[in-house]
């Protein structure tokens, strides 16, 4: 195959991937878009095999088949609640694959184009380090999400220093290659050990609620690692597609940071938000709840509010997902609609443990995607809303974000639940959310608190509608 044809086909396949991705912006076309990307990927593999004249190497096919089969089987078995850790694991696989490919190139530099040897080896060692960082970082992230390791930020003694030193040594391993090829073996070892250590060090101190940001960042890194490995192996297609993935991860990281009111650097440096003034308020709020009308009055009152509500907005949070209550929430929304209510779901950008996670969980529970509305889209509708039902969400509905200057959530975009005429909050307890800021909603007169496991409280709500 001539070089020109190869480059043309590379360009064509890259465009195909881009078209596939742009089709992902509409639900109706997204399945086809994903299929298109799959086809482009298969085409890319075939093209590479043909161009390098290695299509007849049986062992390559065997190992591709093994990976393919394992991947498909795994893909079918995955449950939607596990998506965050699955994405983290997949990021890790991509990262380590790049690192391994780079290592192979570095072990046998004599097999490479000698005119560009310096560029090839430097990019390979860079791909190695980024790939290994992605791998260990993703494994820790997956472990935290799967609760194999503690979700709390783990902070070692002199954490900052240790992290910094491992980063410097990782970079050193790349510089060494640039100085002299005789350093190659030692550079490979330092790259693996120090890069791997750095990945662990920077993810281990990230708290559970910051995971959406960490996963997006690792997603970006896995693409960048692939792209650099593409430079080392002189394959423009890998460079292009890796670059696209890197950009996507970066974009999602930005979106997540903005919606959580967090700076990326703070998360990487392990700054956790304060939880100073949480205790006093929890007590205060609970007294308010018990001090109001007797239990029975509330129940009958709430039942009539729910039955007469014409406009209802449900606000699901991670608490709903933790309690696995999404199918009950789906039932609740059906019952409300049968009572004549116009119902929508308000989804905060960071609801869940990864970008868009809540939408997937609700879609799985058979809720029509048109009812899943983004924050900016639905916020103006809260003032006209008869009833807002919050299920397992706290920080993202905290009106203090608009007013309480100096708190960690000040300035964070929130859902304007407080503007609704009546509010039901089904949260596990009265403790402040992850950010540790008291929620003034809990003390408002038109709020009914339903404390406990979301599965039980949502069931109670459904029973009230009967």
């Amino acid at each position: 195959m001539s070089d020109i044809l190869f480059y043309l086909l590379c360009g064509l396949l890259s465009v195909l991937v881009l078209v596939g991705i742009s089709m992902m912006s509409k639900v109706e076309k997204a399945v086809k878009g994903n299929f298109l990307s799959t086809i482009a990927m298969a085409g890319a593999i075939l093209l590479t095999l043909v161009y390098y004249d290695i299509i007849s190497v049986t062992s390559l096919w065997i190992f591709m088949a093994i990976g393919l089969i394992l991947g498909v089987i795994w893909g079918f078995k995955i449950k939607m609640i596990e998506m965050p850790q699955v994405v983290a694991l997949l990021n890790g696989f991509g990262g380590i694959a790049s690192a391994l490919a780079a290592t192979v190139i570095m072990i046998e530099p004599e097999q490479q184009n000698q005119d560009q040897l310096m560029f090839i080896l430097v990019t390979a060692s860079l791909a190695l380090v980024v790939g290994v960082v992605t791998f260990t970082g993703s494994m820790i992230a997956a472990g935290k999400l799967q609760k194999v390791i503690s979700q709390k930020p783990v902070i070692w003694k002199n954490h900052q220093w240790i992290t910094g030193i491992s980063l410097v040594l990782s970079i050193l391993s790349i510089v060494m290659v640039a100085i002299d090829t005789k350093f190659l073996p030692i550079s490979i070892i330092i790259g693996w050990v120090m890069g791997g250590f750095f990945g662990v060090a920077f993810t281990i101190r990230v708290g559970g609620a910051d995971m959406p940001i960490t996963i997006s960042l690792l997603n970006s890194l896995s693409g960048v690692a692939g792209s650099i490995a593409g430079m080392a192996s002189n394959n423009p297609l890998t460079v292009a597609i890796g670059g696209i993935v890197g950009a996507s991860g970066l974009l999602l990281t930005q979106i997540m940071c903005r919606s959580m009111n967090r700076h990326l650097l703070d998360i990487l440096l392990g700054k956790t938000t304060s939880t100073g003034h949480s205790k006093g308020v929890a007590v205060e709020a609970s007294t308010v709840v018990t001090a109001s009308d007797s239990e029975e009055d509330i129940v009958s009152d709430l039942a009539s509010i729910m039955k007469s509500a014409r406009r209802v907005i449900i606000v699901p949070g991670y608490g709903m997902a933790l309690a696995q209550a999404q199918h009950l929430v789906s039932q609740l929304s059906d019952s409300l609609e049968q009572n004549g209510a116009l119902l929508d779901f308000a989804i905060h950008p960071v609801a869940g443990r990864m970008p868009g996670h809540m939408n997937v969980l609700l879609a799985e529970a058979n809720i029509s995607y048109e009812k899943l509305r983004e924050m900016d889209d639905i916020n103006p509708e809260f003032p006209n809303c008869d009833l807002a039902i919050v299920i397992g969400a706290n920080d993202v509905i905290n009106p203090a974000a608009n007013t309480a200057e100096g708190t960690p959530i000040y300035g964070m975009p929130v859902l304007d639940v407080d503007k609704a005429k009546h509010i039901v909050i089904c949260n596990f307890d009265l403790k402040p959310g992850y950010a540790g800021v008291d929620n003034p909603l809990y003390k408002m007169r038109n709020v009914t608190m339903k404390l406990g496991d979301a599965k039980d409280t949502v069931k109670e709500l459904i029973d009230m509608l009967r």
């Binding site: 990927m41 991947g71 994405v87 694959a97 690692a225 696209i244």
Partner: protein, 96 residues
């Protein structure tokens, strides 16, 4: 291909990708991410060529592992993305 050109390709694809992905609504961010995940398995191309031209047994084995892992990434990513996307539907379509 010259190093400069490769770096240029990286920059262009990153910018174009960024612009296109900006249009994806947050509703579909999880499938977008797992789809991107699958695409990051494109590193399998590098693994394939590196492995095919490797001489030593050790480096070949490393290459094979890379191929398997990258393919799991690709296949798993695309499978779960399509499974997820198929769950997004209108209520009317699946009346119980």
């Amino acid at each position: 291909m010259s190093p400069l050109l490769l770096i240029l390709i990286f920059i262009v694809s990153t910018v174009v990708g960024y612009i296109i992905i900006k249009n994806v609504p947050s509703l579909l961010h999880t499938p977008l991410m797992s789809g991107m995940n699958a695409l990051s398995g494109i590193t399998v191309l590098g693994a394939l060529t590196a492995t095919a031209f490797a001489l030593g047994t050790g480096s070949k084995i490393l290459g094979y592992i890379a191929i398997v892992l990258a393919m799991i990434n690709v296949a798993g990513g695309f499978t779960v993305t399509s499974k997820m996307l198929k769950m997004f539907k209108h209520k009317e379509v699946d009346n119980k």
